[in-house]
């Protein structure tokens, strides 16, 4: 188990280094750089050269990468090329804002997803199952921006009860109304994913021999469910939650941009648009670290829950 965890952590670090390298390399092939983004393409060659020197863009991409990566290993992500502020505090603050959104989404979607998924799975083919399946399929079939626009239309445009934009300066909790639509938008899809995974796990577990045996022993349906189904069915839900964190962070880039919420997702989009490579690399690196760590934790929990996996 310890060896397995160590291997996974090593792989995680290697993945992160590769992610950063890929970002630096890919962005070096883009037709415009931060200097052109800052000055416009009609800037004089002298101005462009000066700004490129100022920003270190005159260095080869590998030199820039090693310089940045060395600093990142020491916790110093450098200075944003465009915002001209320290990247570390900027990214961490935005991450904190996004953590509030993500935390609320998971707080709602995980328990609710587990309960509704089990409920649907335990009534496979029944009316409840069909309704839940249809609703979750619908929720999952539309991308976040569609739900966001729909929510804005209904709750801001028609009813006028919620703000269409979620711009904040202090704590996200200063004005909770601004959190409602971003959280709701991301929750719709993540909740649907969790329900479907949980339902699937429940249906599969209910078909296993030992469940049939437990029923034949005369145990009540509730006891069968509580003692023999829940523990096994929850494993895929845990895995799904790990995967959902990745999905959720991707969703946040869309949701935060639409609602103008200052989080890590919208910051990443802005960094990409501005060709702000160090900021982009730091934002993506941290996001990747969260995703891979969430998957690692989910895998370790699943291994922990399953004695056979633990032994192997």
């Amino acid at each position: 188990m310890v060896r397995y965890a160590a291997q996974r952590v090593g792989l995680l670090l290697l993945t992160l280094a590769l992610v950063a390298l890929v970002i630096f390399t890919i962005t070096s092939f883009l037709p415009t750089d931060a200097a052109e983004t800052k000055l416009g393409i009609l800037a004089t060659p002298e101005s462009l050269e000066f700004v490129r020197q100022q920003l270190g863009l005159d260095q080869p991409v590998l030199v820039r990468f090693w310089s940045w990566f060395g600093g990142a290993l020491r916790g110093d992500f450098g200075t944003s090329l465009v915002f001209q502020t320290e990247i570390g505090p900027l990214v961490m603050a935005r991450l904190a804002n996004s953590a509030v959104l993500a935390g609320l989404v998971l707080l709602i979607s995980v328990p609710l997803g587990i309960v509704l998924g089990m409920w649907a799975g335990s009534r496979e083919g029944g009316a409840i199952d069909r309704i839940i399946s249809w609703v979750t399929l619908t929720a999952f079939s539309f991308p976040e921006f569609v739900w966001a626009i729909l929510l804005i239309f209904v709750f801001a445009n028609i009813l006028g009860v919620l703000p269409a934009a979620s711009i904040i300066t202090g704590s996200p909790f200063d004005d909770p109304a601004k959190l409602v639509m971003p959280v709701a938008t991301a929750t719709i899809v993540v909740l649907a994913l969790t329900i479907r995974m949980m339902r699937q796990g429940t249906v599969q577990t209910l078909e296993l021999d030992y469940v049939r045996t437990a029923r034949l022993k005369g145990l009540s349906e509730w006891k069968v469910f509580r003692k023999h189904v829940m523990g096994n069915a929850i494993a895929p839900a845990v895995t799904a939650t790990g995967t959902n964190v990745a999905y959720l962070l991707g969703s946040l880039a869309v949701v935060e941009t639409i609602f103008s919420f200052p989080g890590i997702g919208s910051l990443t989009v802005q960094a990409a648009n501005n060709r702000d490579v160090p900021l982009l690399a730091a934002a993506v690196l941290l996001t990747s670290a969260i995703v891979t760590t969430a998957n690692l934790v989910a895998d370790l929990i699943v291994v922990g829950l399953n004695p056979r996996l633990r032994k192997s």
Partner: protein, 527 residues
């Protein structure tokens, strides 16, 4: 009325003030850049008046000398001041930090008298030394700034005494007073470093930057030591970044914001239908154009260019591209908000004449050519497609190629035969015409490339106007130049577009500006 993005979503070019031809709170608040300056807001018991204005982009460059975006100019307008300012009526230069100015007979020495009651947000009083520092910083060859090319005529700035500054020019520049009204000519404290200006702005403007949530919002508070307190009617201004046009509209209608800086044609119908929204239209703010690259055959033939001009139904293009917002023009790059704009008759579409010219040029069956455009500038691709249909009537096959706005600049400009661009206008004569039509103009090859267009008569007019300080005489010269452009220019300009600003109907005292950024003096919000 500045710049033109063709480079990024809202990036507008640098040289000649054309910002881009080519054109975030925290749990702890630790990303914010905060000013130490004092502000008037919140000093009383009454609820402060907060004005929320939505912009599609966030100011990233806070050093005035390197600003390129309209949203950055808006930041500059609130925090900084310039020697001169554009008048609200006709964009002519008027006093701001300079109470008056004069120019020598040879046009080579300009003398500015600096006001003595302006104070920086840091508390330091403005002196002539700050002005000299700011101007010399603009033209420092060792530390190039984004708009240095606009000020190449300035050789030196000299402080004569605490309130008098002389600018010594290498050649006459009649539009200097207008050039110094540009937001990038803002006056900063002597000795300010680029790093200080980027993070802790210190101007003499009516508002102090209180907080900068990068990428999301800037909070301004009224400057309590501003010399004209009566004109400051807002305690706090929030410049919020809302990228989505629909979200902007919904927020304005819901009363969450007070102003949308640039209303697109797609937002108009929604906003027009709302009974709590006021729309302010300032004509002559921007235009669409089709660049004809004369280094490609057959565009090197004047008859072919004339044929391409004649196939154009300008009124129809204006209607198709902007839903009727735009006004047809005769290829005029000097827009109607410009004091030097000349009214020139708009040519009618004449397909038969176009066919005759093509036959004369040896293309009786027309020709085939690519035309680049983008969907990233509202109406531009619609205009291009419609124009291609019009050209087809004369036998000319234009293959519409859709690219990113950035590609138009990096891969289209100078490299493709026909490219459609979006430009914003410019408030003076020279800045409007010379980049496009002087033989070494920045948008005409930039001096280091073969120009798109070179015309001795136009070059002479541009040079003469530049050294003609008499306003009426200069206006005549620019009118002549506009006639020539309409007759044989290379950049087809079918129409110009207004800048539409939307405010809540409870906002009063706001008049808008074709410049695209606002002073916000004497603006009040009822609710």
């Amino acid at each position: 009325m500045h710049t033109t993005p063709w480079m990024t979503a809202s990036r507008r070019a640098a040289a000649f003030g054309i910002a881009g031809l080519v054109a975030a709170g925290t749990l702890s608040g630790c990303t914010s850049s905060e000013s130490d300056a004092t502000s008037a807001s919140g000093s009383g018991d009454a609820e402060p008046t907060v004005f929320e204005m939505a912009w599609s982009g966030h100011p990233t460059e806070l050093d005035p000398a390197n600003m390129n975006l309209l949203e950055e100019y808006q930041f500059g307008q609130l925090v900084y001041e310039t020697l001169t300012d554009f008048s609200d009526d006709d964009l002519a230069p008027e006093p701001e930090l300079a109470s008056e100015w004069s120019v020598s007979d040879d046009g080579l020495v300009w003398t500015f008298t600096i006001i003595d009651d302006a104070v920086f947000h840091s508390g330091k009083a403005l002196t002539a030394d700050d002005v000299v520092y700011s101007i010399m910083r603009l033209i420092d060859p060792d530390v190039p700034t984004a708009h240095a090319a606009y000020y190449t005529a300035i050789e030196e700035a000299v402080a004569i005494d605490d309130t008098t500054v002389e600018l010594h020019l290498s050649e006459p520049m009649a539009d200097l007073a207008s050039a110094l009204a540009q937001p990038y000519a803002a006056i900063v404290p002597e000795g300010s470093t680029a790093e200080e200006l980027a993070t802790t702005p210190d101007g003499t403007g009516p508002y102090v930057m209180d907080e900068n949530v990068e990428g999301s919002m800037i909070v301004y508070k009224a400057f309590e030591d501003y010399r004209d307190q009566d004109s400051i009617t807002l305690d706090e201004i929030h410049q919020v970044t809302i990228a989505q046009a629909e979200t902007q509209s919904t927020s304005l209608i819901a009363g969450d914001i007070d102003l949308i800086s640039q209303v697109s044609a797609q937002q108009l119908s929604t906003l027009e239908a709302a009974d709590n929204v006021a729309l302010i239209e300032n004509p002559g703010a921007s235009f669409h154009t089709i660049y004809l690259n004369t280094s490609f055959e057959p565009l090197d033939d004047e008859r072919v260019r004339e044929a391409l001009r004649l196939v154009m139904d300008r009124e129809a293009l204006a209607a198709i591209a902007t839903g009727g917002l735009a006004t047809a023009t005769a290829d005029n790059v000097v827009l109607s908000a410009n004091p030097y704009h000349a009214d020139i008759e708009v040519p009618e579409q004449n397909i038969e004449k176009a066919k005759e010219l093509l036959a004369e040029a040896g293309y009786p069956d027309g020709f085939e050519m690519d035309i680049w455009t983008t969907t990233e500038r509202f109406g531009l691709s619609e205009m291009t497609v419609a124009y291609a249909e019009m050209a087809a009537q004369a036998g000319i096959t234009l293959n519409v190629v859709t690219k990113t706005n950035s590609d138009l600049g990096t891969e289209g400009y100078r490299q493709q035969p026909m490219v459609a661009f979006y430009f914003t206008g410019f408030p003076d004569g020279d800045g409007s015409i010379s980049p496009f039509y002087e033989s070494d103009g920045a948008y005409n090859g930039g001096g280091s490339e073969s120009p798109y267009f070179s015309d001795d008569e136009l070059d002479e007019l541009i040079t003469e106007a530049r050294s003609t300080t008499d306003t009426e005489a200069r206006a005549e010269l620019y009118a002549d130049a506009q006639e020539i452009i309409a007759e044989r220019g290379y950049a087809l300009v079918p129409y110009e577009m207004p800048l539409v600003t939307a405010t809540g109907s409870d906002v009063s005292g706001f008049s808008g500006s074709a410049m695209g950024y606002y002073e916000l003096f004497n603006v009040t919000v009822e609710s």
